[in-house]
């Protein structure tokens, strides 16, 4: 009797083993959803200040537990809070080693008089926001520039400058009233 039960259990276990093995191959999930979720919270500036070569590598490092959630200066505290929410960990202040959070959003402009058309900045820009060709004047597509400033160091004639994005009526934000009494904590 006992042997029959054992054999039966063994057969069932074998069947499930095969089933599981098969479905693992058949229903394999492409990509890593956790990495995708983390990546979607990062600002996609691709500046590398987190010490990883872009936002996605940093997302992978967070998912693998190699990197902390407070290494992204362009995202600032808002990103840290969002990451903490997602991963169910405590939010913490930005790690100053990686830089300071930016107060205002910026883009860069190329001083077109000085540009010598060396294409070095094009090679540095992670989002192809610079337009130009060898020995031709270059220019920045402001709407695509993420303000990562990666193009500035390679420029041999220092003709790339940081400018703040100007607010207009359509991007203006209603100010928050000065609450006076401490606002209740989120709960």
């Amino acid at each position: 009797m006992l042997t029959i039960v054992i054999v039966l259990l063994a057969i069932i276990a074998a069947i499930f083993g095969v089933l599981l093995g098969y479905s693992a191959i058949r229903f394999k999930v492409e990509g890593d959803p956790v990495v995708d979720q983390i990546d979607s919270l990062l600002p996609q500036t691709q500046c590398g200040q987190c010490t990883y070569p872009g936002c996605r590598p940093y997302a992978e490092a967070i998912a693998n537990g190699e990197a902390d959630i407070n290494q992204c200066p362009p995202g600032g505290q808002a990103t840290i809070i969002a990451l903490a929410d997602l991963l169910g960990v405590e939010a913490k202040p930005l790690n100053a080693e990686h830089g300071e959070a930016k107060e205002t959003k910026t883009v860069v402009v190329i001083d077109e008089q000085t540009c010598i058309g060396c294409t070095l900045c094009i090679q540095a820009c992670p989002v192809d926001a610079i337009l130009g060709a060898a020995k031709q004047m270059h220019t920045v597509i402001a709407s695509e520039c993420t303000g990562c400033n990666l193009c500035i160091p390679p420029c041999p004639v220092d003709c790339i400058h940081i400018v703040p994005i100007e607010q207009n009526i359509n991007t203006w934000k209603w100010p928050e009233p000065d609450g006076g009494h401490a606002a209740p904590k989120a709960g």
Partner: protein
């Protein structure tokens, strides 16, 4: 169409009214400004016309500095759907195109066209379609509305023509409610220009193929009611119905008005068109009448200049672009106790900090308050929320304002959105009743604009991710191609280095084969022997022989 309307007449009974949740009974203060007829604003030297006066994109400026323009001439046009053109209110010269401060809560400057009046009052050529509109199709009529730059004049300034793209809408609701205190511009317009308003409504009805039109007016405007009733009585089709509704704030808000009249709720995130309705303000209907019957674009509007801070409060038809200061001057100027200028009404308007701003299409009211007349929005220290739920009782959108405040003030936007922050119509009822004087609406506005910014950021970061990925892909592809080329080259070099003899032999073989081929070809060409050497006579052969011998001899001689 007419018989359709007749048939519907019996069906639509609009006497039963429904109540919406919440709302307030406010002191109207309407008598301050509705005592005198609509005045006409005196021509001024200068007009400042902002390029963007509506919801949507700004138009493209089509005039140049120094150019002479005529009254009603288009200054900026647009191909974008949600947008509206603008027109010159006078004839004169464009003296500047540039930034100028405009009425906006931010106090910021935007692109404006500044025109100097030449006082000629010279119109562009107009040819109104007038009565012929009955024969026109919806599309062409809509274009007239669009080209006239007509936007919702109730305050929302949404381009009117877009609302009319839906056809086969059952009911057109003409909004003459004007529920906000102090404002009387629609009231006066209905009193004095009822026939034009009804005519404009008929045009809208024609565009959207409506079966009936309900004109809604609050019961605190008996004269307007009488005038509209008289105009409706002139129409024999039975298309129009007058609906008098009790005075309560904010009955004039679109969703609330629809609820009062039909008992139906506009779905969340939906439009009135989803339940077969369309709402237009009476001022908009009047502007449409002017566009169709006179071919006049929207270059002026009626503005209530009111409040105890101004000497002679009244309604005035003001050309768009007139300085607010000029309007106030014509109303006798400010009283000594004037304290604050609000554009719009006391509930939904915002204070402006200068009168050196132009009147725009959205300017329905300029309220100059005197000391203590109304409390400006409290933006400083306020008391904590005591959870009295007074705000819940009055919220016409059936929201939970105290919860919204909680989430908005702690930047918990996800929760705020879940509690339908974006259904808040910013009516201000909650702030009005809050015993702690919390500027609730301002928290909501601030939260809304923060959420919009986050959404814009997200859009941008998604675009950046796509561009970055595209670049990575391209770089990798280039790298692969480079490697492929290198590999090929290396292979070629390897084959050369590996077996030199065989290679050389091959080369030599090829060279020999080539040479042989050449020789063969030559032979073939030479095989064609000249015809004149055939069939020669003995005499000729002898002569040739002799010539050859001579040649040989000469050669020999030369060699020696």
């Amino acid at each position: 169409m007419q018989h359709l309307r007749q048939a519907r007449r019996t069906m639509s009974s609009t006497t039963k009214l429904y109540l919406f949740h919440g709302g307030l009974r406010l002191d109207g203060h309407k008598q301050i400004s509705n005592q005198s007829p609509i005045a006409t604003c005196k021509p001024q030297n200068r007009y400042v016309i902002p390029v963007q006066q509506h919801i949507g994109a700004a138009g493209d400026i089509i005039v140049e500095k120094g150019q002479r323009v005529l009254k009603g001439q288009m200054l900026a046009t647009t191909k974008i759907l949600i947008s509206a053109p603008i027109h010159s209110p006078v004839s004169g010269t464009v003296i500047e195109i540039g930034k100028h401060a405009v009425p906006h809560p931010s106090g910021m400057e935007t692109d404006c066209i500044i025109i100097e009046n030449d006082f000629q009052d010279e119109w562009i050529r107009r040819n109104p379609v007038a009565e012929n509109y009955h024969q026109m199709n919806s599309h062409d009529l809509r274009n007239i509305v669009r080209n006239a730059g007509i936007v919702g004049l109730g305050g929302a300034v949404f381009p009117a023509a877009i609302k009319q793209t839906e056809t086969n809408i059952r009911t057109l609701i003409l909004n003459g409610v004007e529920c906000e205190p102090y404002i009387t511009c629609d009231d006066k317009l209905m009193q004095e220009r009822a026939r034009e308003i009804i005519s404009g409504a008929d045009i809208i009805g024609h565009i959207i193929k409506a079966r009936e039109c309900i004109v809604a007016i609050e019961d605190n405007k008996p004269e307007a009611i009488a005038a509209i009733q008289a105009a409706i009585d002139e129409d024999s089709t039975g298309f129009f119905h007058l609906q008098i509704i009790p005075t309560k704030y904010p009955s004039g808000s679109e969703k609330q008005l629809i609820k009062i009249i039909t008992g139906k709720e506009v779905p969340i995130n939906g439009l009135p068109a989803d339940i077969d309705l369309l709402c237009h303000n009476v001022g908009t209907a009047y502007a449409i009448h002017q566009a169709v019957f006179k071919d006049e674009p929207l270059i002026s509007r009626v503005v209530s200049i009111t409040g105890n801070g101004v000497k002679q409060p009244q309604n005035m038809e003001v050309p768009i672009g007139t300085y607010i200061a000029d309007c106030v001057t014509q109303c006798g100027g400010y009283n000594d106790n004037a304290s604050c200028m609000i554009m719009g009404g006391p509930m939904m308007g915002y204070s402006i900090h200068s009168d050196h701003l132009p009147v725009v299409k959205a300017t329905n009211c300029l309220l100059v308050t005197s000391n203590n007349e109304i409390h400006p929005a409290n933006t400083e220290a306020h008391l904590p929320c005591i959870r009295c739920a007074k705000c819940v009782e009055v919220c016409p959108a059936k929201l939970l304002p105290q919860q919204l405040y909680w989430y908005a003030s702690t930047n918990n936007f996800e929760r705020a959105s879940e509690y339908h922050l974006f259904d808040c119509i910013e009516c201000g009822c909650c702030s009005y009743v809050c015993p702690s004087q919390i500027p609730l609406v301002q928290y909501y506005r601030s939260a809304k604009s923060k959420i919009w910014e986050l959404e814009a950021d997200l859009k941008k970061s998604n675009a950046a991710r796509k561009r970055h990925e595209a670049r990575q892909f391209r770089l990798e592809q280039q790298k692969r191609e480079r490697e492929e080329r290198l590999r090929q080259k290396r292979e070629m070099l390897n084959t050369k280095k590996g077996r030199p003899e065989e290679n050389e032999i091959n080369l030599k073989k090829a060279a020999i084969a080539e040479a042989l081929a050449r020789v063969k070809q030559k032979k073939e060409t030479q095989a064609i022997t000249p015809k004149n050497t055939d069939n020669l006579t003995a005499e000729q052969l002898r002569q040739i022989k002799e010539a050859d011998q001579r040649r040989q001899a000469m050669k020999k001689k030369n060699h020696e």
